[in-house]
């Protein structure tokens, strides 16, 4: 108890210095947490993807399509319960910076994704309207889309202007579901292509395949690919999760850079914190000598210094962690590109661990010096 009081008194002897250090630490812990969350957000697509769905695409690359006739042949493979079409539309709403994903889908797609919660009457209304579109809740909130709104999109992959009408807004079953996307009828796309560019009609970007048992995913993938081996369009089938991870892997060096940088911030704050502790200890050399002369051992002095470092790091770290949640909410709205941006409990644990490491590392050198100081030299020292 006495030790604790002494530690706290010491910590706040230089109030300004301690407050600046705490502020620095809080900012660093906050920045570290946000950077970790940015990395997590990158993986959100993969995290939301299921292992119980397969994605079949052209083996050459995603820029090549598959004939629509493959649908029936995939359905014939044993273990396949549902097959749905999906084309990446890649259109522009008003301006390129308003980017959001658009998919042309066949109606069974919605049955494959139970995590998209759509009222039955809205689904029925969508199915009746050829130009009907479904938008996710996050997307609707961002642009203020309401049911019945016209939604004009300029095509880049499929040239021309496309008119859609919002017929339904779907919610995510849980917070990890990505609802920042739009879906519309594959048939509308295909029929328009038949008129405008007949050679491009009747092709599908990817088939999303529902299977009976997630355990059979590997076997079914191999069987599907075997059906189309040596055909004009060979296929590559993988689980939806692996498919999404493929996108993440494309920017892996950016993610690696963010990871490195998130540790750089810890080193920056370590330098600041170590500086504060070194200065405090240096100024108190004569005090430490006095304590030693009074009979306190080197262990007590080390405890005093470690305690002070821990006190500052605890306060700074706690503020940094506490600020995380509100800042993340603000960041998500301001950036608008991350559909999921929540600080996970793992991240909080890592933040706390970083603060602890900084506290210990910053105190080591001053503690060793204080423990070693000879009483005579210490009493003679001037700060």
């Amino acid at each position: 108890m006495f030790l604790l009081r002494l530690v706290l008194r010491n910590a706040f002897r230089h109030r300004l210095r301690t407050l600046l250090t705490i502020a620095g630490l809080a900012i660093a812990v906050l920045a570290y947490g946000l950077l970790q969350t940015v990395v997590d957000a990158w993986y959100a697509g993969a995290a939301a993807a299921s292992n119980a769905r397969l994605v079949t695409r052209n083996a050459i690359s995603l820029a090549f399509f598959l004939p629509v006739s493959y649908e029936a042949r995939i359905r014939a493979v044993e273990g396949v319960t549902r097959v749905s079409r999906s084309n990446w539309f890649g259109g522009i709403y008003q301006e390129p910076k308003n980017f959001f994903p658009q998919f042309a889908i066949s109606p069974s797609y919605l049955d494959l994704y139970p995590e998209f919660v759509l009222p039955a009457e809205e689904r029925a209304a969508w199915q009746r309207d050829r130009k009907g579109a479904l938008v996710g809740r996050q997307l609707a909130d961002q642009f203020g889309f309401k049911v019945g709104d016209a939604l004009p999109i300029r095509g880049t992959i499929y040239p021309g202007n496309w008119e859609f009408v919002v017929r339904g807004i779907f919610d995510g079953a849980d917070s990890g579901t990505l609802t920042r996307q739009m879906m519309f009828h594959w048939d509308y796309l295909n029929e328009t292509l038949r008129k405008r560019a007949p050679r491009r009609a009747d092709y599908v970007g990817v088939f999303v395949v529902g299977i009976d048992q997630p355990d059979n995913a590997a076997a079914i993938s191999t069987q599907i690919d075997a059906v189309f081996r040596n055909s004009l369009a060979e296929t590559l089938t993988e689980t939806e999760q692996a498919f999404q991870l493929g996108f993440v892997a494309m920017s892996d060096q950016i993610i690696a850079a963010i990871r490195v940088v998130s540790y750089v911030v810890i080193f920056i704050i370590l330098a600041v914190m170590a500086n504060t502790m070194a200065m405090s200890a240096r100024e108190r050399t004569s005090e430490y000598a006095t304590l030693k002369a009074l009979g306190f051992g080197p262990g007590f002095l080390a405890a005093l210094i470690f305690g002070e470092s821990a006190a500052i790091a605890t306060i700074g770290g706690a503020i940094g962690i506490a600020l995380g949640a509100p800042v993340a909410v603000f960041f998500k709205q301001a950036a608008g590109i991350f559909p999921v941006f929540e600080i996970s409990s793992d991240t909080v644990a890592l933040q706390a661990a970083c603060a602890a490491v900084v506290a210990v590392a910053a105190a080591v050198l001053p503690a060793v010096q204080a423990a070693r100081v000879r009483i005579v030299d210490g009493l003679r020292a001037i700060a």
Partner: protein, 388 residues
């Protein structure tokens, strides 16, 4: 009269550990700041080097990238026979009708494949890109299933050595050479015969047509004619503009992310500088009083402490920049969001970046040191002499 610089410098030297820790914190921020700028400069340099100023790219209107574009054979013929197009040997137009597709290749050591551009070029394709030079093997023979790979592909991907075969589009393609394209984007591409690739991928339209202008200033005339011709649903861009448009999103992303980070980090480092300078002031109250008693004015004391913190910032800046300059030996490759293909580029240190980085580090030193210096300048002579 100003306080001598040697006094200021010695103050920093006396408290070496503190100075080193503070400068170290600043150096890390400067390092992040400099590498972000270097990465963006490297990306820009790659794009500028990719485009020749007197080359023009024609793509389908609104397509934005070659992957999304399509140009029919009649359209390509109209564009390449336009009078402003330069002619090469035998009076043939200097035009390359190209087909651009993506194939998935595995990077060395990676579990997942990455998209790589495979470009079918006409015979003129090499003439139009003088920066593309063969470094190993030979060019592909026209009309054959032979391909040549760019330097960044040869270094970073598996199974692409000369003599090896890649299988895609139901054919085996033999790699017969490696070309170096300097720091341009072509270094991250694979080239083959346009007509062979079109047949293999069952395309009926080219992706783009690249022509060389007879005169650099003829671009506007070509553009006006292409826009006016009802047979053409194309748009033309100068090659350099075309490539810089294509990577604008990636460039913005790198800059915004990097500078936001630097801004946050710099607050931490400035707090560190502030702590150091406050300590520097409070340790020397008596000294400051003596200086004032000797006749140095408040302004001189303020100046001395500002110079001290500027030196601190400079030390951090030079260290950070020195480490960042080592990054020039590394290269960075990532998927360009717009073209959906892998692009490899280097960290590039330019004189402008050196100047910006040093200015940034001095600014951090100045901002961190201003309040402490103000406190030092405000001390009363009598009080401060007494405090000793």
């Amino acid at each position: 009269m100003a306080i001598p610089l040697s006094y200021v410098a010695r103050n920093l030297w006396t408290r070496r550990l503190t100075t080193a820790l503070t400068a170290g914190g600043l150096a890390l921020v400067v390092f992040v700041f400099a590498t972000v700028l270097m990465l963006d400069a490297g990306l820009r340099q790659t794009l500028v080097a990719t485009g020749e100023y007197d080359n023009v790219v024609a793509i389908r209107k609104g397509a934005g990238t070659e992957i999304q574009s399509g140009i029919t054979r009649p359209q390509a013929a109209i564009i390449e026979t336009h009078p402003v197009v330069a002619t090469g040997e035998g009076g043939r137009p200097l035009a390359s009708k190209e087909t651009v597709v993506l194939i998935a290749l595995r990077k060395a050591g990676a579990a997942k494949p990455t998209n790589v551009v495979i470009r079918g070029v006409s015979q003129a394709g090499f003439v139009l890109r003088p920066q593309v030079k063969l470094v190993q093997g030979r060019r592909f023979a026209p009309g054959s299933t032979e391909i040549v790979v760019g330097g960044a592909i040869a270094r970073g991907f598996e199974g692409v050595r000369v003599g090896e075969r890649l299988r895609f589009a139901q054919r085996d393609w033999t790699i017969v050479g490696v070309f170096g394209a300097g720091s341009s984007g072509f270094d991250s591409e694979i080239w083959g015969d346009a007509d062979q690739l079109m047949q293999a991928f069952r395309r009926v339209a080219y992706s783009s047509v690249i022509v060389k202008l007879r005169d650099v200033d003829d671009f506007e005339r070509l553009r006006a004619d292409v826009d006016a011709d009802p047979r053409l649903t194309n748009e033309v861009k100068r090659e350099r503009t075309f490539y810089s448009d294509q990577s604008r999103a990636l460039s913005t992303f790198i800059t915004v992310l990097g500078l936001t980070l630097t801004a946050v980090f710099s607050i931490g480092a400035m707090l560190g500088a502030m702590i150091t300078m406050y300590a520097s002031v409070s340790n020397r109250v008596a000294e400051i009083g003596t200086l004032r008693a000797l006749g140095f004015r408040r302004g001189a004391v303020l100046g001395a402490f500002l110079v001290e913190s500027l030196l601190l910032g400079l030390a951090g800046g030079v260290c950070g920049l020195a480490v960042a300059s080592l990054m020039q030996f590394a290269s960075f490759s990532t998927t360009n969001f717009q073209t959906f293909a892998d692009l490899s580029f280097k960290f590039l240190l330019t004189p402008a970046i050196v100047a910006q980085t040093l200015a940034f580090s001095l600014a951090m030193g100045l901002l961190g040191g201003f309040l402490p210096a103000l406190r030092a300048a405000r001390l009363e002579i009598v009080d401060s002499l007494r405090s000793a």
